[in-house]
């Protein structure tokens, strides 16, 4: 049925598809499946999936590190946070480490500006970041298998 009866669910479906994927992205197969389930065309699903910044169509690391660079965090030093992360992970913003464990991204305000600078790792928010704190966090994550 090509009438868009279940269009409303498309974002939830994409969300689910991404969460279920180990590499935090939506595969082409899932995009197609979502299109069918929601009654959308391929282009429409693709349009939706690429509009929202939480979705990725490219494989990402096991941990997606999203650093806020909006006003409050910028003011409180997010640039240095990026620098530390880039150095520690040896990647640039938008890239994934060769071992497929980390992806570094820039995002808009995460709504914890009272703890600026802040970032989100997968679904966990971390605030009041300092270079030491970041190194600690990375160390913890690296330990996990």
């Amino acid at each position: 049925m090509k009438l868009r009866n279940k269009e409303k669910d498309v974002i939830a479906l994409l969300n689910k598809a991404q969460r279920e994927n180990k590499h935090n992205y939506i595969t082409e197969d899932k995009l197609k499946l979502t299109a069918q389930e929601a009654g959308l065309s391929y282009s429409e699903v693709y349009g939706v999936a690429t509009f929202y910044s939480l979705f990725s169509l490219k494989p990402r690391g096991e941990y997606v590190i999203q650093v806020c660079d909006s006003g409050p965090c910028h003011l409180m030093g997010s640039k240095s946070i990026f620098k530390v992360l880039e150095k520690e992970l040896k990647i640039k913003v938008g890239e994934t480490t060769a071992d497929g464990r980390f992806t570094l991204e820039e995002v808009s305000c995460l709504g914890i500006c009272n703890e600026a600078p802040a970032m989100m790792i997968n679904e966990k928010v971390c605030g009041n970041l300092t270079p030491q704190k970041i190194r600690e966090i990375l160390r913890e994550l690296r330990k996990k298998k």
Binding site: K2, E28, S41, Y42, S43, Y46, G47, T50
Partner: protein, 895 residues
């Protein structure tokens, strides 16, 4: 109060309530710059170039999104507005490097025009330097992202007109870009190459691939005419350079297509210039064609026919006219056959598609044509489509159905054994077994009557024979119908309720209904159904056969039929005959002639000796091709007049080169009875001649001189003899054309028939019982073969297969088979199989698809390499003599 008064730039204008400033301004010839707005598409309000000021309101508002109100005072331009527009255009121009030098749209680009009108000499912003690659995977479309301004018109055109939803935007903000499918090359998407996106694109971002470097906008001569392919009758504008058609646009004012076209109409015109075009008459000597002079060929034709007539009598001659030729040519052809051959043995391919429609509807209503108009479908609450794969065979109408289902709340009921595209847009899809149509239609009516959903008043006042009919219908309980048709009871009941309760229900059908031995019964049943619910004689209702060929309606109207003269006037009626005899000044034969299949039969029996075929290709189109070949080869003399050396022409003794639609004047009558004017766009190719002139030449040489100077003159004669065309004259046919019946010069034409009264007086209910198809699968031939068409080709492919883009997209025929059967036969996609029936066999590649049910296979008949009609059965409907193309039994073997 439905009008409002307002001023635009001080000028007082009136407008309909609810219209936008943009619409009102355009209607009053006031220009407001815009890029994202286009008439006929939904409003985006995204380019922001149409900003205007409204007195008493702060700031500016977009003209395309703001509704007019009483006493509004609109200013469309001042220094501030112009500066804002200028800056916006500069922003667009800085997004990409726009290079007009070699852009196909140079001269007809809305962005270029705006930049010029606003006097933009310098772009204040840094211009982006990145260059994106162009995308040319499609046979017909060239996509250049560097010229895309993201106006979204193509996205909306694809979603709203074609309803394919192939295009959309991806990403967001300044990163936004146009995609097709999952950001795939167009060729890998659901694109149906309709070109609606090209037509609406304001810049050179989407252009016709094959027109690249073929001419600049200002070099083209533009000629409006009618699409030569199907019965929708789309109005097209040919763009011609050096007498060569370079591109085609849909005419926005075209009453039935409103600017829209399908792939054939827009891109399938190159056959006109194909190297295979016949450019000179040919005469066969010792089995080989030799070029001949016109005089030589015409003299030979006339002499031979005269000889045969003298020797064997008039009825040993016959003629097949053409649904591709104009009304005027069809009129002349039948006149010629009736006078010079002295026989009524004249027919044409309508026999093979809608003879049962004409027979059935004439009987029930008194008129054998589409009762309503195409544009009226939007008024219907429910449209029941059966036996019509509309999106492939009448794409512009098919897409309209999709549009109505998706955007207009119109409910579709599709009844079809195949999972055609429309089933995806249908509220209810009934999948009947092929050939069981009378049963399910009776079943629907059974429910409607039992549940009291029928229109008693209408039945009472406007119809007759209800009681007889009711008796038969009462036998068709949903349970019994399920057993015959395979349609589950509940579904049948749901459909009955949906159609029965609709205020306006429209029935649409095509060859899935007509091409059966029970074709006439099927049509009669549909007529019963419509009458039962009072769905005749009002806008948005009716029984609507979609006619296949561009002028099949006209060929019928103009009497290229063995039993009627122009205007369906019976040959057998002395009074009618006398009228024609007086005007034509000859004695006319009273005996009804033979039909297509009968003519071929008679030929193989040696009863027909000479045959004149104009623009038809029975060697692919007719059922049981081996038998057709036998018949044609058995003739003493065969003349074929065509633009290509078709499979049929190859068997001819003399071949006469006619011309294509682009090379002649005349009229076509489309499926909703609209007579539209054809304009000559280019001179005849080589030594070919307009078909009407050829007929005149032969007629003269057979002793009946005809002396028309133009098709317009022929139409005047038609009008004088044909009441339904009585008011049709070329000077009245500009723009919208005329819909018959149009009895007099003053008459405006008739959008829908049977308004207060049926043509025959009262509508006639006919009790119809279900009869199984003539040939059903059995142990030896276990599969049911159904035939039909695909979007990219037309009829026997003599035109479309000579179009590079069309044949490029769909170069070969397939046998569609269900996954279950494929598995059983152990065949894979693209495997070759042998298909055979009691009449013949062929080899074809396989396409495995859910579109066909198990036990059923499907083939198109466009391809000579795998000519489906080698297999089909020539069992005929006893009334209409239409063959049962939709059901024959075949067997399939792996090779």
């Amino acid at each position: 109060m439905n009008t409002v008064n307002l001023t635009i730039n001080g000028k007082l204008v009136q407008a309909e309530k609810g219209s936008t400033i943009m619409e009102v301004a355009l209607a009053n010839g006031i220009k407001i710059p815009h890029l994202c707005y286009e008439k006929g598409l939904s409003i985006a309000g995204s380019c922001r170039l149409c900003m205007v000021k409204i007195k008493g309101r702060p700031g500016m508002e977009a003209a395309c999104t703001t509704e007019v109100v009483e006493k509004m005072k609109v200013i469309t331009s001042d220094e501030e507005i112009d500066e804002a527009r200028k800056l916006i255009v500069e922003l667009i121009l800085s997004e990409h490097k726009h290079d007009c030098l070699v852009c196909e749209s140079n001269g007809q680009c809305e962005l270029q025009d705006l930049a010029y009108e606003l006097g933009i000499e310098k772009i204040r912003f840094p211009v982006s330097k990145s260059i994106e690659p162009t995308e040319d995977s499609s046979q017909v479309i060239l996509k250049d992202p560097n010229k895309c301004i993201l106006c979204g018109r193509c996205v909306r055109a694809c979603a709203e007109i074609t309803v394919q939803r192939v295009l959309d935007f991806a990403a967001r903000g300044s990163g936004t870009f146009l995609i097709s499918g999952l950001d795939q090359p167009l060729v890998d998407t659901d694109c149906v190459s309709c070109g609606a996106c090209i037509q609406t694109c304001p810049t050179g971002a989407l252009t016709e691939k094959l027109a690249r470097f073929q001419g600049r906008s200002w070099e083209f001569r533009k000629v409006q005419t009618i699409c030569p392919y199907c019965g929708v009758g789309c109005q097209i504008e040919l763009n011609i350079k050096n007498d060569k058609i370079v591109k085609v646009y849909g005419v926005e004012e075209g009453p039935d297509n409103k600017g829209h076209l399908c792939v054939k109409g827009r891109f399938g015109f190159d056959y006109v210039h194909h190297k295979d075009r016949l450019t000179t008459p040919l005469i066969k000597h010792n089995g080989k064609f030799e070029e001949a002079s016109w005089d030589g060929a015409l003299n030979l034709v006339a002499t031979k026919f005269k000889e045969l007539k003298d020797k064997y009598g008039s009825d040993a001659l016959a003629g097949l006219s053409s649904a591709k030729c104009t009304n005027e040519e069809n009129y002349l052809f039948q006149k010629f056959i009736r006078i010079c051959f002295g026989t009524n043995n004249v027919d044409h391919c309508a026999r093979l598609c809608h003879a049962s429609t004409v027979a059935g509807l004439s009987r029930a209503f008194g008129s054998g044509a589409m009762t309503n108009s195409i544009w009226e479908f939007e008024k219907a609450d429910v449209i029941l489509v059966t036996g019509s794969n509309t999106t492939e065979t009448h794409p512009v109408i098919g897409n309209y159905f999709k549009h109505l289902a998706a955007y207009n709340g119109t409910k579709l009921i599709v009844v079809d054994p195949r999972a055609i595209e429309l089933t995806e847009y249908a509220e209810i899809w009934l999948r009947q077994k092929s050939g069981t149509d009378v049963a399910w239609i009776n079943g629907l009516m059974n429910v409607i009557i039992n549940e009291g959903l029928y229109n008693k008043e209408f039945v009472e006042n406007r119809t007759e024979n209800f009681d007889e009919f009711r008796k038969v219908v009462s036998k068709y309980t949903p349970g019994k119908v399920e057993k015959i048709t395979g349609i589950p009871e509940e579904k049948l009941i749901a459909a009955a309720r949906m159609y029965g309760k609709a205020d306006r229900g429209s029935i649409v059908f095509a060859m899935g209904i007509t091409q059966h031995t029970t074709g006439t019964d099927n049509v009669l049943s549909l007529a019963n159904l419509a009458m039962l619910c009072g769905n005749v004689g009002r806008e948005g209702t009716g029984v609507n056969p979609l006619r296949g060929q561009n002028n099949v309606q006209g060929a019928c109207d103009l009497g290229a039929l063995p039993d009627v003269y122009p205007g369906y006037q019976k040959v057998s009626k002395a009074q009618v005959r006398e009228n024609f005899e007086t005007t034509w000044g000859v004695k006319l034969p009273p005996k009804e002639g033979l039909t297509v299949v009968e003519i071929i039969d008679a030929a193989s029996k040696g009863e027909i000796k000479g045959l004149y075929i104009m623009g038809e290709n029975p060697m692919l189109s007719d059922p049981n091709l081996n038998h057709v070949r036998e018949g044609l080869e058995n003739l003493d003399f065969l003349v074929v007049q065509d633009i290509f050396l078709t499979e049929t022409a190859e068997l001819a003794d003399v071949v006469l080169p006619g011309v294509s639609f682009a090379e002649k004047e005349g009229t076509f009558t489309n499926t909703c009875r609209r007579i539209q004017l054809l304009h000559k766009a280019i001179p005849p190719i080589g030594k070919s001649r307009e078909d009407w002139k050829i007929i005149m030449e032969i007629s003269k040489r057979m002793g009946y001189p005809m002396a028309y100077h133009s098709p317009g003159e022929i139409m005047d004669e038609i009008a004088s003899l044909t009441p339904i065309y009585g008011g049709v004259h070329f000077d009245r046919l500009g723009g919208q054309g005329l819909q018959w019946p149009c009895p007099s010069r003053e008459h405006p034409g008739t959008p829908y028939l049977h308004k207060d009264k049926f043509t025959r007086g009262k509508g006639l209910f006919t009790p119809v019982d279900y009869i199984p198809p003539a040939e059903l699968p059995d142990e030896e031939y276990p599969f049911l073969l159904s035939t039909g068409r695909v979007l990219y080709h037309f009829h026997t492919g003599s035109l479309s297969r000579r179009s590079k883009p069309l044949d490029g997209i769909a170069p070969e025929g397939f046998l569609e088979i269900s996954p279950q059967d494929a598995k059983k036969l152990r065949i894979k996609n693209n495997d070759w199989v042998r298909v055979s029936s009691r009449r013949g066999k062929l080899k074809v590649k396989v396409k495995i698809t859910h579109h066909v049910d198990k036990g059923v296979v499907f083939m198109t008949f466009h391809f000579a390499e795998s000519a489906a009609n080698l297999l089909t059965s020539d069992a005929l409907d006893p009334v209409a003599k239409i063959p049962e193309y939709k059901v024959s039994a075949v067997k399939i073997e792996r090779i």
